[in-house]
């Protein structure tokens, strides 16, 4: 009897229901557009999450496990995909000047995107007086223990730390830790060295290396298709977990609902408003079509809450559906998971800071706001696109502008709920930058972009 009662039968029931839904999704994948399959899986996940919402997501243990396995699988592919893609792309480009242009333009557009995000966030924060009358949220600020505070303080970062972390220290270590900029630097160094040796001593000397990279790339991208095939199932599971989490966090939400709402509004404006303008005028493509073609990357970002984890899908969709040349997609999109990241490094920490400032009735001068904006831009120079980065950026900003870190601790309950939309903003920002850079370097294939999506499953895959 005790053994029977020790099993969480409701969690198993949820698993069975999810498996039945997987079967439905599998059937649909052959009949309707891949984008709709992802959309349906999100709806199914939301329904499961709402129906089986439970304390500590206890009924969604198995779905959480499936979602985590997917995130692990796709994250495992990040380092090899970026390394071989960048090396292969730059070797094929065989043009050091063009390499430089792609690099500088990528950083430029990512930073432009961050600057716009900072301005919009400040404007919205000021217009809405976010936090006014919400002093009660911070009434327990003194009760945050020293142990908690020091744990958060340790997470803070500074300009020198950010710059240092961008450079490789150990090739194997950086690959293992998914240090994106470090991996890109390693890949660029290898590609430039290849081009130099090939020019000086003839391509025959290094052709074996090129063949190896091309073969490895083919295999790794084939492995990627296996994982991408799992996306709708993972999206279902992760959406269910998020929906349940949302319901169990509702107490925290009630007090901070306006802040959550504003974070969503600003992130969505940045994602679909600012980026639409950048696409329209910077890349000269239809924003609507672009968002439709990259929808599965958006859905994956929203549900996995990991910019880096979404990267393989982002790169794949940029190349195969948007028509961004491989060299640009493989370079700009990964860069966008470290530099830029408007959702996590600009919108989120600024709104938290403004919420606290207004809630506690402080009057900040323009120069103080300028310092805050500058610090956000510094943060956006190098923040890893990994789960947990939102806490790091908020703590870093609060400590840089002398706001109490204890305030961040009290606002953390809304971290998970807002991380979905922040990751979406980051991923779309990186994709848009890649497309704009591709247009500016004549590496955008309009024919691929104009091609209509097929309805067969195989066309939806990488």
């Amino acid at each position: 009897m005790d053994a029977l009662l020790s099993v969480n039968w409701i969690a198993l029931l949820v698993l069975m229901i999810a498996l039945l839904m997987f079967k439905v999704l599998n059937r649909l994948a052959y009949k309707i557009n891949w984008t709709f399959v992802i959309l349906i899986s999100m709806v199914m996940g939301a329904v499961i999450g709402i129906v089986f919402a439970s304390e500590n997501n206890s009924y969604l243990t198995w779905l959480g496990l499936i979602g985590d396995i997917y995130v692990n699988l796709i994250t495992a592919l990040v380092a090899p995909v970026i390394l071989v893609s960048v090396i292969s792309g730059l070797i094929a480009l065989n043009d050091k000047e063009k390499m430089k242009r792609i690099g500088t333009k990528s950083v430029f557009w990512l930073m432009i995107s961050s600057v716009i995000a900072v301005v919009i966030t400040i404007l919205f924060g000021m217009a809405t007086h976010i936090g006014n009358g919400a002093g009660a949220v911070f009434s327990d600020i003194a009760s945050v223990t020293d142990t908690t505070l020091s744990a958060y303080e340790e997470m803070g970062t500074s300009l020198d730390k950010i710059i240092l972390s961008l450079f490789p220290t150990n090739i194997v270590g950086d690959l293992a830790a998914d240090n994106i900029v470090a991996i890109i630097i390693i890949a660029v160094a290898i590609a430039v060295a290849y081009v130099n040796v090939a020019t000086d001593e003839g391509e025959g000397k290094v052709k074996a290396f090129k063949d190896f990279v091309e073969a490895f790339k083919k295999i790794i991208f084939h492995v990627l298709t296996f994982v991408i095939d799992l996306t709708p199932y993972a999206v279902l599971c992760l959406t269910a977990v998020s929906a349940s989490q949302l319901l169990s966090d509702k107490d925290a939400l009630v007090q901070l609902v306006i802040l959550v709402g504003l974070i969503y509004i600003v992130c969505l404006i940045q994602t679909y408003g600012v980026n639409a303008l950048l696409l329209k005028f910077g890349a000269k493509v239809s924003p609507l079509k672009f968002f439709k073609k990259t929808f599965d990357a958006q859905a994956t970002a929203f549900t996995t809450q990991s910019s880096v984890g979404t990267l393989p899908i982002t790169i794949d969709r940029l190349i195969r559906k948007v028509g961004v040349d491989e060299e640009v997609a493989n370079f700009s999109a990964p860069l966008g998971t470290t530099i830029g990241m408007a959702g996590c490094t600009c919108i989120w920490p600024i709104l938290l800071a403004m919420f606290y400032i207004n809630a506690t009735g402080q009057n900040w001068s323009a120069s103080q706001y300028l310092v805050m904006c500058f610090m956000c831009l510094v943060l956006s120079l190098g923040s890893a696109g990994m789960p947990g980065i939102g806490v790091v950026t908020a703590v870093s900003l609060f400590s840089a502008v002398n706001l109490p870190i204890a305030a961040v601790v009290l606002l953390i309950p809304i971290n998970n709920i807002t991380d979905m939309v922040r990751t979406l903003t980051n991923v779309v920002g990186a994709s848009v930058t890649a497309t704009v850079v591709a247009r500016n370097t004549d590496l955008l294939d309009d024919e691929v972009f104009e091609k209509e999506e097929m309805t067969q499953k195989k066309e939806g895959q990488a």
């Binding site: 009662l5 020790s6 744990a151």
Partner: protein, 163 residues
Amino acid sequence: MKKSTIVLIVAAVVCLGLSAFSLKASVSRTDKAIAAIGEVTYTDKCKEKIDRAVEYYNALDPNFNLKDKIENKKEFDTAKIEYARLAIKAASVADARKTAEGYSSDDVKKYVTEARAVVDSYLTPDQYALVENYADLTALESEYTSTGGSGGGDSEEVSIPMC
């Protein structure tokens, strides 16, 4: 319909049935375990019974508010408070014997630690006041343990949420 689909539907129905059954059964086994406690004495046997009831009670699904469905909850609380009182009394007696019968400090410390463990695992902080000799425990803790009357618990662990 495919065989695998039928198997999944059957499995789902079985899980649904077992879910309903286990919810009911978990309440009734907790009621039985509480009823089995009987008269509270400071013995290993009695502690074993209370421990079992506590284990079953804590395992009740919070999503269905099953704890509210426990019929003899009042008796259960009384039994836990009484056992905590006895555990503290045992520590006080050991302290008294230290001077009279040559108990070592380590012996007394063992009783004090045990009493604290009982209080922390059986009671919620707002129930501490219901234990009439709780003040004795804090006094003994400040004398015999390095943490003093901290109210129990190990060093605080800080969990940084994932983003």
